[in-house]
């Protein structure tokens, strides 16, 4: 077993285990902390695939900005006690069964294919900042500029929605 395989399985089990713990924990703060662990595991996968720019952006944007925003809102609303009412257990069972059935169908479709398609691990230049920056500002300038308009409208929208009326 090579070091890449070992790291892949370690990061995968970390991500899936943290996802399950995120669902099972009653306290919203604990769920947010488990989600941060998932984001770090996914960033580890990006580093494994030599997508360095996305690994850093994933940590900065998701684990740094978005999850802090979630934590801020949860603490603002003082929800860190276990306030969630008990849900109907039959509905929960139905939800788990239907999600599991979807997973079963998707996995069986993937496992049916016989071809091996290898991936380029830990080498390759297409994930480096130099290459991505050149691509972004050469071929994707218009979407990049449009995303700034999207941010402006999201900012105005958030202010307008949460304004006290």
């Amino acid at each position: 077993m090579s070091i890449i395989t070992i790291l892949f399985y370690f990061l995968s089990f970390l991500a899936v285990g943290s996802a399950i713990m995120m669902l099972l924990s009653r306290n919203p703060i604990h769920s947010i902390l488990w989600l941060i662990v998932i984001f770090f595991a996914i960033s580890g996968h990006y580093i494994l695939m030599n997508a360095q720019f996305l690994a850093i952006v994933n940590i900065i944007v998701y684990a740094g900005a978005i999850m802090v925003l979630f934590l801020f809102v949860v603490m603002l609303m003082n929800l860190n006690a276990e306030t969630e009412p008990v849900k109907n257990h039959r509905l929960q069972l139905i939800g788990v069964i239907s999600g599991g059935l979807l997973l079963l169908v998707l996995l069986s479709a993937v496992m049916k294919t016989q071809t091996m398609l290898p991936m380029e691990m830990k080498t390759g230049t297409e994930g480096l900042i130099e290459n991505l920056g050149k691509t972004l500002f050469t071929y994707y300038v218009v979407p990049f500029e449009l995303s700034s308009v999207l941010f402006l409208s999201a900012m105005v929208g958030a202010v307008v929605i949460s304004k006290k009326d």
């Binding site: 695939m49 952006v57 994930g127 290459n131």
Partner: protein
């Protein structure tokens, strides 16, 4: 590494997100599960980009298999904008109902 391993991992994460949306009632947890689903799709896009980088046809392409990673970058941009608006909606919901249980949202019916 085979691409199937990454497809399997992304599917497991995505279905975990779906189960979370179905079984939890806390609006913030549901929102976090949506983020988890977006992240599993991002992971799969990067994996496909690295698979595509091995094909000989990609050397002729001017963007050299970086399109998928640019796409992931834009998904992150949109997710950041979506989170700010969504959390504003949740805060407003909490201010009106003193709860973030999504079952209170069925009052929107009438």
């Amino acid at each position: 590494m085979d691409i199937k391993a990454y497809i399997t991992l992304a599917m497991v994460l995505f279905c975990t997100g779906i189960v979370g949306v179905l079984i939890r009632r806390n609006a913030i947890i549901i929102f976090m599960c949506i983020e988890l689903m977006l992240n599993s799709v991002n992971l799969l896009l990067v994996a496909f980009s690295k698979m595509h980088a091995l094909s000989p046809a990609v050397k002729a392409s001017p963007t050299y298999a970086a399109d998928a990673q640019i796409f992931v970058f834009f998904i992150m941009v949109v997710a950041a904008a979506e989170v700010s608006v969504g959390l504003a909606i949740i805060v407003m919901l909490y201010r009106h109902t003193k709860s973030i249980d999504i079952n209170f949202l069925n009052r929107l019916k009438n």
